[in-house]
Every structure is written in C-alpha cells, then in structure tokens.
Symmetry: C2
C-alpha cells in the first residue's frame, strides 16, 4: 500500500467509467475498482463491471451494497417511475437522476481509499451529455474534494486526497475514441438503463441514444448487443 501509486476507481459497468479506468491505468496507477449495488434496475451492469475490471488490469474489484431503494425518488430506484425514452432536454433534470447517488458513491470510495491508503479517487462523471445531473458538474467534484480533505484520518495527518474526473467535460465521441485507443473493449460495457440480464440493450432509452450517437461521432462501429 503506497499512497501515491494507488487509486480507487468507481466502475459502473458503463463506457464512461471503463474509459476512466483505462486512463488511470495508463498513468501507471494500481487501480482498485469499486462498484455499488444500490438497487438499480438490473444487475447486468455489475457483471459488466467485473469483466471490465479484469480486462483492464484492476488490482482489485469490490462491490458494495447500499439500498437506495429505501429512499427512492428516481426511475432507476423506484419501479413505479418509468424510464424515459423521449430524449434529453437541455436544462431539465430527468427522472433517471438518483438523488445524491454520486455523493453516496464517492463517500463509500473515500472510506475504501482511506483503508487502502490510496491518494486518488477516479469518477466517470460527465457534464456534457447529462447537463441535467447536479452531481456530474465540476463544482460538485470540487466540493467533494474539499470535503474529502477534512473528513478523514488522512486529512488530519495533512495528506491530500484528490478526486479525479478526467472526462467531465468531454463529448461522448471523445470518450469512446480515447477509450478505444487505450484498449477498452466496449462490447463488455453496459450503458442501457433497462438492459436485460444478459446485458442486451433496449436501444431507445436516453442512455442508449447517447451511446449510439457517441460511436457515430467517434467514427467507430457500435459493438453494443441490442435485444
């Protein structure tokens, strides 16, 4: 365990966080992948996360349970709210927003990083496609970093924790092109909000639409298995 060579990487099983893991690996970091079973609609993305962690050479992969269904308030954690398929509208926060999800994920990652002695946490947040998600904005990442630097034993001892969101202002096309150049096999990743248990995508939810457009923008074939 060495502070400056180890990182915790939040890994959802989607293509953004897979690319972020590849970026962290390309920096020579020992990467501890962390996924969260939070009550999402399907477990295919957690299966995908496990494959991606192994494929990209993560030093470890852990899945932590937190029951955000007990809180609800999102179409991803409350089956009574439908997943939207009508496209993203600028300035409108969609029902797929899960209240405080990235705050919860980063909090768990912070605990994991402290136990491991890691000095960085990588997050696949992206503010461009999902401008509606409050917790995907640079101001959110900065505020969490400030919190992380008072919240822990590490902070008391005067050692910094950095929250890295390297793709936060990238387009989907750039994320895909970069991930591909770093060897990410995107056929392993699952972005669909309502994938089936085999990981096959619906092709019509907002996440599927953005992903499709991203491959087109990157000029790469879309390897997504659709059902």
């Amino acid at each position: 365990m060495s502070a400056d060579t180890d990182a915790v990487v939040l890994l959802s099983g989607g293509l953004d966080s897979a690319t972020v893991l590849a970026i962290a690996r390309a920096q020579g970091l020992r990467c501890h992948a962390l996924s969260v079973r939070y009550g999402q609609r399907h477990s295919a993305e957690l299966v995908a996360a496990e494959r991606v962690a192994a494929h990209l050479g993560a030093a470890s992969h852990r899945i932590v349970d937190v029951d955000l269904r007990a809180i609800g308030g999102s179409s991803l954690t409350d089956d009574a709210i439908a997943v939207p398929t009508g496209g993203v509208t600028a300035g409108v926060i969609p029902s797929t927003y899960v209240p405080a999800r990235n705050t919860v994920f980063l909090a768990i990652a912070l605990g994991h990083a402290e136990v491991l002695g890691a000095s960085q946490i990588f997050l696949g947040a992206n503010a461009v496609d999902y401008s509606g998600y409050p917790d995907c904005r640079p101001a959110f990442v900065e505020a969490f970093e400030a919190l992380a630097n008072v919240a822990t034993r590490r902070a008391v001892e005067g050692e910094r924790m950095r929250i890295m969101a390297p793709i936060i202002d990238w387009t989907k096309g750039r994320i895909i092109a970069t991930g591909a150049s770093l060897g990410v096999d995107f056929s392993m990743t699952v972005s669909c909000y309502q994938a089936d248990e085999a990981g096959r995508a619906c092709g019509v939810c907002d996440s599927c639409r953005l992903r499709k457009d991203g491959f087109e923008a990157a000029g790469l074939p879309d390897p997504t298995p659709y059902r």
Copy 2:
C-alpha cells in the same frame, strides 16, 4: 411535504442523536428519523433507534442498509480488530473510527431529504468527547453543507440545505442535561460499542465510560442497563 418544516434526523440509537432529535422536535420540525445498518457489531442500537423515534414523535423512521464491512478498517466493522477499553487519548484517533462513516450517513440523508423536500439534516456529531474523529469536527460539517448545496436538484433550483449539528461543541453532561429537560428517556438509548442483543452495556468500552461520566456530570442517575 413542505421545505421549511421538515428535517431528516440521523438517529443511531445512542444518546447524542436522541437529544438532537428532541432538539429538532422542540423547534416544531416534522422529523424524519434515519438510521443506517452499516455492519456495526450489534443491532441493539437499531432497535433502540426505533424506540426513540416513536417515543420522541418522529413523523417517520427508516433504516437504510449500507455494507461498510466490505471496506472494513475499524474495530466496529471488522471483527478481527478489538474494541478498545483503555480510555480515550487526546489527539489519537481510536480504532472505533469508521472511515468516512459520517460522510456516507450524510450522503444517504441528503438523498432522503431531497426526495422528501426537507431543508435541514440534523447530525449528532460531537467534537468534545471524540476529538479524535475527523468527521465529528465543525470543519467537516461546514464542508458537507457546502457540498450539499451543489450536489442536488434542490441546489440547482437555488434552495438551500442546512446541515445542523447542534451539540457539536457540547460536553456529554450538557447533552444529557438538555436531553433530559426535553423529555428524552435515556434508558431507551444504547451507546455501548459491544452491547448484547438485549441492549445491555459492557460498561468498560470508551463509549460506556464517556456515557457514565456524562450522567455524573449532569447530576442525573444513570439508567443504562449493564450486563
């Protein structure tokens, strides 16, 4: 659901958070108690939290699961690390510190508050007795409040969220005296790190020592059931 009359109150089952709930109730707030089953050594404190929530007139009480044992790093979440009984030493963070615990708890409370439309979150953090816990300091509470005010839909809409830690600089004696004056029945609360399933305390762990001293300082009989 009205923003300025509703609060989420983190309730552990111990005496600090019971007093904080009584304080919030005395302000006329509708209080939504929230407890976390995080992998702590015993469930007696969650049973206590349920009793306390009902006793003090909480509008609701919810228990959310998050598995901090997957992370470990504390004598409270890793059975291989012994609970200390030798007394608290100033400036030393004891093994009962759970990495990022209050960050995780506040993150979940933030999601709950957002779904409910509550404008305040109450936390029973106390910096005096546990000066060693990084996430019980005023700077931590301030940093989390700053985070909360960028992290959510509510923040985007320009409505403030306040993180209230009303007893953060109080002595245990003052907490107990105030709680008693507000009608808290402390016999319902469990502070012991290693209580048995009936909620009976060991009497020797640091938490038991601080609690005993607090009743003495408050000049009140200690109603704690010891085993």
